[in-house]
Point group: C2
Chain length 331, copies 2
């Protein structure tokens, strides 16, 4: 393993966040943390893709408003999503005149966008930035697996793509939980080719990034949140860490296991999608950080970097994980 | 218009670059500037997508080598491409253990990746980074327009996606042409829905970014290189600038007009694709900058941010342009 953990040279705070959940997500255990809860996943649009874009747009608007800013106070937006050519982000950003830099890390996009924005803010080049991502169950199934109308059976390893979005406003001034350090992940591919077992594919990337980060920064975190490893990927990650002598069983949480009631909802191995880490972080985690339930956490969103046609060409699934360290605001 | 041009707070130099051209590109007027000239666009692979990924991988390897570095000297890679979920970049990066941040700005990706890397380097958070992108005529036609086998007729406004890749190694130390300032573009959509007239769609984004940049930094550039506006988009851009009282007719060049011999090759309105700005900048422009043919240039790669299915849903094409200002090394 190579590459160094980055310690930000000046203050980066998360001024505020906003989260929107789809119908199923809003009825789940974290529904109360969302700023907006959909009752219809079309969100008033005539396609799932347009609905997803609206999710992201509304999350961005709400986060800027909750941070006490106007659109013109934001120096740049860092967004991306799962749709081909990231159109969810692009059509969302079309409604703003904010300078925009597209990022893509599949389901790792929420931590990637905050990492890249932190580099720009801590370096003194931007003052305020908004970071956002989204996903939609229906647009993702259609694009990555089967059209919903086909009624394909989902294997037990499969995960349920979150319909939701999250946005966070980062700033070099003011108060809020601080982003203090980050580790950029490398691409890891352990040879898994099953589009219905993303958790297993992504766990080694999460392992590598967390291991690198902990080697440099210590393991003193109240919680380590991964993005969407789900039940299977989470087990693999904790076991891999354990074999290295690092016990994270008690402090590890996975956004993909938190957002649905895994016992009563038919989501098999848990949740996935850019919107999973985004809505869970920008809803639940950020709210609890502000309440100082935890002092110091690590957010490690994970992404599977394939597309459907390259897997049909026989390729396995490359994955990545980016870690950002966040400290609750001091008293 | 809003958003400020960024002046980098400390030195960012382009240590070296590498460019690879496909068969058609290598036979064109800039063929002599490429580090590698393909004779077969499959590049020894069994699919166009895998060939494109290899183009990017080989460009990255070559750029790192030409910069006098080893892979382990590179702190991060900033790459992206046109393929769904940027698989060209991801499968290229799978062969390296370099920390990787995916960026996506369609055909604006070359200037976006150098802009984002410059933010990280000038802020003191990274020392060396590699920036790369690629495109492939066959994979792009299949994905955005028609399968090649269909033999669809191309209208006169259409552009020919470049088969090629470029990579640049940026650093906070050492010598080379300097990246001194940049302007992040906003998303611009003037209502064009024609997937065969990208130049016209992108010209207003180029206009807005160049106008913003010049308003703050002056117009003292020896050349302003846009990415892939082609013949039609270039005319629109120069006319739009002229109406604002800024005459760029003589100093404007478009990578999409330079890479092919427009008189003898059947490319209609010129070239396009991420690999256009990438291979022209990393080949021709960088070589001539090193020879000090120009003292100060502006590189403004432009991107069309749609996908085929959202346009089929009736949406118009959002576009973007990012500008980076580059100065030749001082004597």
């Amino acid at each position: 393993m190579k590459g160094k953990t980055i310690e930000f040279k000046s203050k980066v705070v998360i001024r505020n966040t906003a989260a929107i959940g789809g119908k199923k997500e809003s009825e789940g255990p974290l529904g109360g943390y969302f700023d907006r809860r959909l009752t219809d996943d079309y969100f008033g649009e005539d396609s799932w893709e347009k609905a997803e874009s609206k999710l992201q747009r509304e999350a961005i608007k709400k986060a800027i408003q909750k941070a006490g800013y106007m659109e013109e106070d934001i120096d740049a937006a860092f967004c991306g999503d799962l749709l081909n050519q990231c159109v969810s982000s692009h059509y969302a950003m079309r409604e703003f005149s904010i300078p925009f830099l597209g990022v893509y890390g599949a389901c790792s996009t929420m931590s990637e966008s905050m990492l890249v924005a932190s580099l720009a803010i801590a370096g003194g080049h931007l003052k305020n930035a908004v970071c956002a991502t989204s996903s939609h169950f229906c647009s993702a199934e259609k694009q990555f697996r089967f059209p919903l109308d086909y009624g394909g059976q989902r294997p037990p390893t499969s995960q349920w793509t979150v319909t939701g979005a999250g946005a966070a406003v980062l700033s070099g001034v003011g108060s809020g939980p601080k982003i203090t350090a980050a580790t950029i992940g490398s691409v890891v591919d352990m040879g898994i080719c099953d589009l219905n077992n993303m958790g297993a594919a992504m766990a080694p990337a999460a392992f590598e990034t967390i291991k690198k980060h902990i080697d440099e920064r210590g393991a003193d975190y109240d919680k380590i949140f991964t993005g969407d490893l789900g039940i299977i990927g989470s087990d693999i990650l904790c076991d891999m860490m354990n074999r290295e002598g690092i016990d994270i069983y008690a402090k590890h949480e996975d956004c993909g296991k938190l957002i649905y009631d895994l016992k009563s909802e038919d989501v098999h191995s848990g949740a996935s999608g850019c919107g999973c880490a985004a809505s869970v972080f920008c809803g639940y985690v950020f709210d609890e950080l502000k309440k100082k339930r935890w002092k110091r956490i690590l957010l490690v969103a994970t992404g599977a970097l394939m597309n459907a046609s390259i897997v049909q060409q026989g390729e396995s699934i490359p994955t990545i994980a980016h870690a950002i360290e966040i400290e609750a605001e001091e008293e």
